[in-house]
C-alpha cells in the first residue's frame, strides 16, 4: 500500500493491517462435534470467522488475533486454542 498524505484512506483499507501476527494462540476448528450453530461467527470481535460452502465455519488467520472468544463460546467445545510457534 502506498501511503497517502495524512494517512487518508478509502473505506476498507483496514484490510491492509493484517492483525494475525498479534496472535499467540490459534483457534483450531476441529469439525468433530460442530453443530453449525454459527455462534463463533457471531461472537468473533474481529469479524473474521466465516461460513464455508459446506456449512462449517473457519477463521481467516490473516486477521484472527487469537482472543479465544470463539473457543470459549462454542457450545460443543469444537474449537481448540493451540499455542502457535513462529
Amino acid at each position: 500500500m502506498a501511503l497517502r498524505v495524512g494517512c487518508a484512506a478509502p473505506p476498507g483499507r483496514a484490510h491492509d493491517n493484517k492483525t494475525g501476527s498479534w496472535r499467540v494462540f490459534k483457534p483450531i476448528f476441529k469439525y468433530e462435534q460442530c453443530v453449525k450453530c454459527g455462534l463463533c461467527e457471531v461472537v468473533c470481535p474481529e469479524g473474521c470467522v466465516y461460513e464455508r460452502e459446506d456449512g462449517y465455519y473457519v477463521a481467516d488467520y490473516d486477521y484472527c488475533k487469537g482472543c479465544g472468544l470463539c473457543a470459549e463460546e462454542c457450545p460443543v467445545d469444537d474449537i481448540e486454542m493451540v499455542q502457535e510457534e513462529k
Binding site: 500500500m1 501511503l3 495524512g6 494517512c7 484512506a9 478509502p10 473505506p11
Partner: protein, 384 residues
C-alpha cells in the same frame, strides 16, 4: 493602510483578510481580544465565516480539524493552559496534515497560575508537527498570518502553523500597523485547495490506524514536509516582501551582526528591546549584535550557523526552560553550532511576565563577556 491598532485587533484584521471559513476558539487571557473581534466581525456580517462556539479548547481545535478535513480554511487562537488542553488534538492535526493556522498569544504555564508572558506554552508543543513562527511586533504578527496560511496550505508542506506573539506585551499594546487591503490579500492568498476532502459521496478515513508496518513512514513524511517548508517559507516570505515591501524570506534576521563579537539570540518582542540596547552598547564601543529567530519549527540550523559564523560568543535569551536541561532556543543553537567552537551561554529570562529592560540586556552581555551563563537571569534572591 497604516492604522494604530491593539496587537490583538491587528491580528483579527489579518485573519479576516485571510477569509477563514470556519473559526472555533475558546476565550482565554491574553488571547481574548482576538476572538472577540472576530466574533463581532462574523456577527456584523463583515466576515463570512462560521463561528463555532465550543466549551473548551479541546473542542475548539477538534472542530477546526473536522472543518479543515472537510476542505475549509480554518482558524483558532489560544494560549497557555488552553494550548495544553489541545495537546492531543495538535498531534492529530499535524498527523492528518491539515493546514490549520492558530495564533498563540504566548503566556506562562501554571502552576503557579500566571497570565503574563513567556513562551513556555508554544515551546512545549515544539515536537507536535506544527510550524512555529514568532513575531517581534504587531506588524510582524499581522504579516505572519498571511504567510503562515500560504506556507501551510502549500501542497509540498500541508502542515499546521502557530503564529506566536507575546501576550500583553504585543496583544494589548497599540502600535502603528500597515494592514494590506482585502484585494491585495486575495491576490496573495488564493482559496485553499485541499488534497483529501471528507465527502459523504466519496468516503474516506483520515488519520487511519497504522500498525508498526506503516507508522514510522508517516512520521518520516511529516519530517520531510518540515524540511520542504524551509524553502517554501523563504519563497513565500520573499514574494510577500516584493508585494508589500516587508521582506520575510529569512527564517532568522540579523541586527548589527556583521562585525559583532558577541551575538544575542532571541525570539519575539524581546528583540525590540534588545535592538535598542545594542544601539546603546555600540555607542560605547561594544561589538554586539542580535540574531532573531523567526521560525522555531522548522528550525533553520543552516541559517543560524551562517549568521553566527563570525562571532566568538553567543548569549541566548530564553523565555522558556526545558526543565531538567536548559532553554529550548539554546539547545537548538548549540546543535546548529556544534563543532564550530563558538561559546554558547544560556540565560533563562522574563518568565511569567518579569519585565526586561535595556539595562538587563546590557547586564546579560556583561555576564557573557565574563563567561558566566547557563543560568536564570534576574532572580530575586531575597525571596528564595
Amino acid at each position: 493602510m497604516m492604522e494604530i491598532l491593539e496587537g490583538s485587533h491587528a491580528v483579527a484584521e489579518a485573519v479576516k483578510r485571510c477569509r477563514p471559513q470556519v473559526i472555533a476558539a475558546y476565550p482565554i487571557t491574553p488571547q481574548t481580544h482576538i476572538v472577540e473581534a472576530l466574533a463581532s466581525m462574523v456577527a456584523d456580517c463583515d466576515l463570512d465565516a462560521d463561528y463555532i462556539c465550543v466549551e473548551s479548547e479541546f473542542s475548539a481545535l477538534s472542530a477546526c480539524l473536522g472543518a479543515s478535513a472537510a476542505g475549509s480554511r480554518v482558524y483558532s487562537a489560544t494560549t497557555s493552559q488552553g494550548l495544553a488542553l489541545m495537546f492531543e488534538v495538535c498531534f492529530n492535526v499535524a498527523g492528518m496534515r491539515q493546514p490549520v493556522v492558530m495564533t498563540i498569544a504566548n503566556r506562562a504555564m501554571g502552576a503557579p497560575l500566571n497570565i503574563w508572558n513567556d513562551q513556555q506554552d508554544s515551546i512545549s508543543l515544539r515536537d507536535s508537527g506544527w510550524m512555529q513562527f514568532y513575531a517581534e511586533d504587531n506588524q510582524e504578527a499581522n504579516d505572519l498570518h498571511y504567510i503562515a496560511y500560504k506556507v501551510a496550505e502549500n501542497h509540498d508542506v500541508l502542515l499546521p502553523a502557530m503564529v506566536c506573539f507575546d501576550g500583553f506585551i504585543l496583544t494589548h499594546t497599540y502600535e502603528p500597523v500597515d494592514i494590506p487591503t482585502q484585494e491585495e490579500i486575495d491576490a496573495f492568498l488564493p482559496p485553499y485547495q485541499p488534497v483529501n476532502v471528507l465527502d459523504a459521496k466519496n468516503p474516506m478515513s483520515l488519520g487511519m490506524y497504522a500498525t508498526p508496518d506503516y507508522y514510522m513512514e508517516f512520521r518520516y513524511e511529516i519530517e520531510e514536509a518540515m524540511k520542504r517548508a524551509r524553502k517554501v517559507f523563504a519563497e513565500v516570505g520573499a514574494e510577500f516582501g516584493e508585494i508589500f515591501g516587508r521582506d520575510y524570506s529569512g527564517m532568522v534576521e540579523g541586527y548589527r551582526l556583521e562585525d559583532a563579537d558577541i551575538a544575542l539570540v532571541a525570539m519575539g518582542s524581546i528583540c525590540g528591546t534588545t535592538k535598542d540596547a545594542i544601539d546603546e552598547m555600540r555607542e560605547d564601543g561594544k561589538k554586539v549584535g542580535l540574531l532573531k529567530i523567526r521560525s522555531f519549527r522548522p528550525f533553520p540550523s543552516e541559517e543560524v550557523k551562517a549568521a553566527l559564523a563570525g562571532v566568538s560568543k553567543v548569549a541566548i535569551l530564553d523565555k522558556n526552560i526545558s526543565l531538567g536541561q536548559k532553554g529550548a532556543v539554546a539547545l537548538e543553537v548549540k546543535d546548529a553550532l556544534y563543532g564550530t567552537g563558538t561559546e554558547v551561554l544560556d540565560y533563562i529570562i522574563a518568565l511569567g511576565g518579569r519585565d526586561v529592560r535595556k539595562r538587563d540586556i546590557r547586564a546579560v552581555v556583561d555576564l557573557a563577556e565574563k563567561g558566566i551563563g547557563d543560568q536564570f537571569y534576574g532572580l530575586r534572591t531575597e525571596v528564595l
